[in-house]
Amino acid sequence: MSEIDWFPLILSLRVALIATAFVVVLGVALGWLLARKRFFGREFLDAAVTLPLVLPPTVLGYYLLVLLGRRSFVGRAIESITGQPLVFTWRGAVVAAGIGALPLVVKTSRTAIASVDTNLEDAARTLGQSEWRVFQRVTMPLASRGIIAAGMLAFARALGDFGATLMVAGNIPGKTQTAAIAIFDASQAGRDNYALVLVVILSAVTLLLVYSTNKLTSGR
């Protein structure tokens, strides 16, 4: 093997980065909701967003296919807005990786936000701040370590997503073949050296991210 194909790795980084951006916004919002608001079905919501962590990836992928496929209402709506389908494109991989990472962001940011003293938030309210400003100026800065940790975990998780991505985005070399899928492909085809390169890189990046996350959440 003379030339290493870097496309799967670059695609994985791109997918993971975009998925992280979306999922941090959504996950922190959900984490805040779960930490700070009491409403009917709160613990049910918590359980529902935890599902991607424990369900088989194929089940998750199946749900996403049904939900976002070209025959579904959501799928057709997206196609009519963006002009292209979501499934079997790299955008589908973003959705699959994002959903897989969501529970980590929700759990981590919920814990971080719950640890912020509510008296500080009340104090900000007595100083004329709206709920959004309270979050922006008090809650978020004080929960920032946890939120950054949540983002890093999400990125690490999205980088390595396999099952759901395979089902939603497929395995199209040069189009939707991410690093995790390329490893599977290479290993099946006996291209062990190539698989090893990707395995080592993915492992190293993920190890670094998880290590930093631990430092961030335990240190002070």
Partner: protein, 386 residues
């Protein structure tokens, strides 16, 4: 400006299905196992109004209800006729629009911001110059210029207290709520903050609700006192009136000292180490010796004597070192769980405590002539009202 408060709040089981918990408007469950139901009704004009009582008696909940952090079950709260909460009319202004300055018991300074950023936090809608001027006034007025660039964890308790006060005043509130603001600082700092508070009070002329369980703080600030017990108001008036009149048992227990009188220094004896004070109540007066202090002749003082420190005799005690020997008649004998309180009219109305056995052996009865004796150093001078 006047604050009017009439609120009820129940912390019992069944309100939202969970016992001892309630919903605050920030949405968090709060557990109050030792909380009594709150049912209070009072007015606070400009100046200090002191909410006095044991912890768990509802003082803090009252402040939280007024500020909007806790929502009462029913009632009405107005500031100067402006309704900020009314359960019947369905008015419940959000916290941020109530225009109330609140110094929390734990101060709640923002730990990620400097003292200056804390003070500036709530100021909005001003030009840069006006903003600077307001911040400058607050910082100089509360003497915190030297710590503006430090974070809350790098300053002392007294300094943190001043920063919290400056922050609470930064939006020119129409009402100031202070929750045990001086509980965690040393005496000297306490006195200097009290004098700053009095100055702020004179300058701003707004109602200040001051929560405390310290008798000294109540007396030294005291214009109006409201005594809380288990969610109800059990006494109101001037601190001297409340603490100095023959006291309702609940208030006596809260204050811990049964005999508190207002008095006037008649003479000073530095060599003797005493001040001679004429104390009085509604029914009479008498003269006692108290420990020497820097109070001026003719100045007014507040004297406290614990009932347990007063010796009761059926004959005139002679040949003792006791400086204070008074004679009078027993007006009442009241059995309490482990002691008997004997009230004696000797100039003023004194309370003294003895054992049941002593009551039998001495043959104490209402109307009997007795002597009261106590040491100079059993008399405590309390901080003086201005």
């Amino acid at each position: 400006m006047t604050l009017q408060v009439r609120i009820k709040k129940s912390f019992g089981a069944g309100r939202d299905g969970t016992s001892g918990r309630f919903r605050s408007d920030s949405g968090l469950p709060e557990t109050h196992s030792a909380m009594s139901d709150l049912d209070v009704d009072f007015e606070a004009p400009a100046g200090f109004t002191i909410l006095f009582g044991a912890s768990g008696s509802g003082k803090t909940t009252t402040l939280k209800a007024i500020s909007g952090i806790v929502r009462p079950d029913s009632g009405r709260i107005c500031i100067d006729g402006d309704v900020i909460f009314d359960s019947v009319a369905g008015v419940n202004l959000p916290i941020r629009t109530r225009g109330i300055g609140f110094v929390f018991q734990d101060l709640a300074l923002f730990p990620h911001l400097t003292s200056l950023e804390n003070v500036e936090f709530g100021i909005s809608g001003l030009t840069a110059a006006d903003r600077r001027r307001r911040v400058q006034t607050l910082i100089e007025g509360l003497r915190i210029s030297h710590i503006v660039n430090r974070k809350p964890r790098e300053i002392s308790g007294g300094e943190a207290q001043r920063v919290a006060l400056a922050r609470a005043l930064s939006r020119l509130p129409r009402l100031l709520l202070l929750d045990e603001p001086l509980s965690a600082i040393d005496e000297e700092t306490k006195l200097s903050i009290i004098s700053d508070l009095k100055r702020i009070n004179r300058e701003l002329q707004l109602p200040i609700l001051y929560v405390t369980h310290s008798r000294e703080e109540a007396i030294s600030l005291g214009e109006k006192l409201i005594v809380y017990e288990r969610g109800r108001i059990v006494g109101r008036g001037e601190p001297i009136e409340i603490f100095g009149t023959p006291i309702a048992s609940s208030i006596a227990r809260l204050t811990g000292v049964e005999n508190i009188f207002i008095g006037r220094v008649v003479s000073r004896s530095e060599t003797g180490g005493t001040l001679t004070v004429e104390v009085s109540d509604k029914e009479g007066k008498c003269t006692i010796d108290v420990p020497y202090g820097n109070q001026a002749e003719g100045g007014s003082v507040t004297v406290a004597v614990s009932a347990g420190d007063i010796l009761l005799a059926t004959e005139e005690p002679r040949h003792t070192s006791l400086r204070n020997i008074l004679t009078g008649r027993i007006t009442s004998i009241e059995d309490q769980s482990n002691r008997t309180i004997i009230k004696v009219k000797a100039g003023v109305n004194w309370s003294t405590s003895v054992t049941r056995q002593a009551v039998r052996e001495l043959g104490l009865a209402q109307g009997r002539e007795v002597w009261l004796a106590f040491k100079t150093h059993s008399c405590y001078l309390l901080d003086q009202a201005e």
